[in-house]
């Protein structure tokens, strides 16, 4: 469960990735030099506020950064040692949906409303697995059964609008896993669902991940979901990774002041009532006008002159990486 397990090769290896967008107001660096590994079969959380670059990260891995205005300007993304940055579209298409799959946030709109579930699922199967007709349909029904959809042989002929939100997200999961991907990118898979359904869908993802051995990158802002289902998490802030750590130490003893702020602001039942839930003061910096030093310095209670002048480098300690001059729990 370590970050750099020497014995195992990482499934996905992202190094110094930079993604920039041309906007009307200027060049925006949505992701600024992030590096991380995903091991085969592990579940990794990618946590952060809206706009911190977590969805862009998952789109970059799939080569789906809308271009123009966006593009990957530096860095590398390797899947099993194969470089994905700069891969021709025709090669990338073979990877999408087969080696790397993605589940999206909005199950209501992510499926095509005018095609039946059968048509959408068999399209993916015939594209990547070269199976057609009855055979493809049977495989699709099998997948729907696996994600817990009742009477899948009937449901498969229905259209997305005939299914509930939870059912649609299950269909998405079934579709995403139908070609046995090695890596599943789940972008806020439960955010749009009811709380009870959220738990069921998450349970389904975790269960299937164990059965099929798929590695999962779970992009979310819901720390509860991360705590329950991930072995490791990255915390992103304003386009950078500020901390990566195994899950238990991250929650027990967050090192970056931003992570600490996030953990503190989770609502929970406390021994003593508190008047107000702790929050992180201030707002995320504008990506067009980033501070010179640490991006969190403006909002950080520990910041000093050095934090405002210099960007902190990653420090590795006990399988944890933190980009901070004054990590929490250390005398500063």
């Amino acid at each position: 469960m370590s970050i750099h397990m020497s014995s195992k090769k990482p499934l996905l290896s992202v190094r110094d990735l930079v993604v920039e967008f041309n906007t009307e107001r200027g060049l925006v660096r949505a992701i600024d030099g992030i590096s991380f590994d995903v091991m085969p079969g592990e579940t990794m959380g990618l946590v952060g506020e809206s706009g911190c670059g977590k969805s862009v990260t998952s789109l970059a891995i799939l080569g789906l950064i809308p271009s123009p205005p966006g593009r990957i300007t530096a860095g590398s993304i390797q899947l099993n040692g194969r470089e994905l940055v700069g891969l021709p579209e025709s090669e990338y298409r073979k990877i999408r949906g087969s080696e790397i799959s993605m589940i999206f946030q909005e199950p209501m709109t992510a499926l095509n409303p005018v095609f039946s579930i059968a048509s959408q699922m068999t399209d993916v199967l015939s594209r990547h697995q070269k199976i057609r007709g009855k055979q493809a349909k049977n495989r699709a029904i099998e997948m729907l059964e696996l994600v817990g959809i009742p009477s899948p042989d009937k449901r498969i002929n229905e259209y997305p609008h005939q299914l509930s939100g939870g059912m649609r997200q299950r269909v998405m999961i079934a579709m995403a896993l139908s070609c046995n991907p090695k890596l599943l990118l789940a972008d806020e898979p439960t955010t749009a669902l009811d709380v009870t359904i959220q738990a069921q869908v998450m349970e389904q993802i975790v269960k299937l991940q164990h059965e099929l051995g798929t590695a999962v990158v779970l992009v979310t802002h819901d720390l509860g979901v991360v705590a329950e289902s991930c072995q490791r998490a990255l915390v992103m802030y304003a386009g950078r990774i500020v901390e990566q750590s195994p899950i238990i130490p991250l929650f027990k003893n967050p090192q970056h002041p931003y992570s600490a702020g996030l953990m503190a602001s989770i609502p929970r039942i406390r021994a003593d009532k508190i008047a107000e839930l702790p929050t992180i003061p201030g707002t995320v910096p504008d990506l067009l006008h980033l501070p010179k030093g640490c991006r969190f310095a403006e909002r950080c209670q520990f910041s000093d002159d050095r934090c405002h002048q210099e960007q902190p480098k990653n420090q590795t300690k006990d399988n944890r990486e933190v980009a901070c001059f004054h990590p929490c729990g250390e005398a500063s």
């Binding site: 799939l62 789906l64 123009p68 298409r93 073979k94 990877i95 999408r96 949906g97 087969s98 799959s101 993605m102 999206f104 909005e106 709109t109 992510a110 499926l111 095509n112 409303p113 005018v114 095609f115 039946s116 399209d123 993916v124 594209r127 990547h128 259209y159 609008h161 998405m172 579709m175």
Partner: protein, 317 residues
């Protein structure tokens, strides 16, 4: 079964529509329309002659009687005889309608087909130079007047200064070769003009559809751009496209061919209608207006049924 029930129900609700349209046009065109009494009489007619002619023309009957008469004609498709030529109106229409259709149909179909294809290409390459070129040419096509296009195309394709490949005017069709010979230049002109409007409209529809989540899903599952455009995106964009095509049918068939027919000297419905307006030939006008209204009702019904075919979320109830 559902579709049949729906069609019948729509036909019944279409009756008030037909009544409304015919009532308005009857009032404007016939009741307040040209009085032909003195055209038919000589100089210094006697009162008896005037009464006689007014009786023959049916002007002495009350409004209600004349309107009911009109509805009866419409129901039986028997519109009497043309005032100017004395030919039976129904036989004029039977003769000219196929000519108009044959003239208009190729341009209409190709104009929409090319419009959709160009719009798909432009929308897919949105913001790139391909998009900019397609849209630039579209605006050009839209901006140039239909008349100028017709004349320019006649000069280019049909005159001795140009290619001199096709006839400038006429419709002397006895075989398929003749048909191609006469229909090519008008078709090119109407494609050139309609393509601009069509492409711009369809591109807007398709661009909106391209931004939808399910398109991103399809991309994330490795869909080829051709499959993405011509399957996922096109089927979702078909509702506005069908609406536009269907609603332009009655206009195109009845009146849209007017300019083409008069400039290319083709004896179609448009030409007949135009002449009838000029000469105040009421039997023909009554027939054309009534038939247009009926055609609109049928188009609306077919339109709604096509919606259902394209989009499973639409119920005909």
């Amino acid at each position: 079964m559902e579709t049949l029930q729906y069609t019948l129900r729509k036909l019944v609700t279409g009756i008030p529509l037909i009544l409304g349209v015919t009532l308005i046009s009857f009032t404007l065109m016939v009741h307040f329309g040209p009085d032909k009494t003195y055209d038919l009489l000589g100089k210094n007619p006697t009162q008896e002659q005037i009464t006689e002619v007014r009786h023959q023309l049916g002007y002495d009957k009350s409004f209600v009687v004349r309107y009911t008469q009109y509805l009866k004609e419409l129901a039986t498709m028997n519109f009497g005889y043309s005032d100017s030529s004395g030919e039976k109106v129904s036989s004029i229409l039977i003769r000219t309608m196929p000519v108009s259709l044959a003239l208009i149909l190729p341009g209409f179909v190709l104009g929409n087909l090319f419009g959709v294809i160009l719009a798909l290409i432009a929308a897919y390459h949105r913001g790139h130079w391909i998009d900019k070129i397609i849209m630039g040419v579209s605006v050009m096509g839209m901006s140039v007047s239909f008349l100028i296009v017709i004349i320019a195309f006649q000069v280019i394709f049909s005159s001795s200064q140009g290619l001199d490949l096709f006839p400038v005017r006429g419709w002397d069709v006895y075989s398929f070769t003749d048909y191609i010979h006469y229909v090519t230049v008008p078709t090119l002109a109407s494609i050139f003009v309609s393509l601009g409007y069509n492409t711009r409209f369809y591109r807007a529809v398709i661009v909106e559809e391209m931004g939808r989540d399910h398109v991103r899903t399809a991309k994330a599952f490795g869909a080829h751009p051709i499959e993405l455009l011509f399957k996922s995106v096109l089927k979702n964009s078909l509702i506005p496209i069908i609406t536009r095509i269907m609603f332009s049918i009655p206009l195109v068939v009845i009146s849209g061919s007017l300019l083409l027919e008069s400039y290319f000297g083709i004896p179609g419905v448009g030409k007949v209608t135009y002449d009838a307006i000029l000469s105040g030939d009421q039997p023909i006008l009554k027939a054309v207006v009534g038939l247009t209204a009926i055609m609109f009702v049928f188009t609306l019904i077919i339109n709604d049924i096509l919606y259902k075919v394209v989009d499973p979320r639409i119920s005909l109830k």
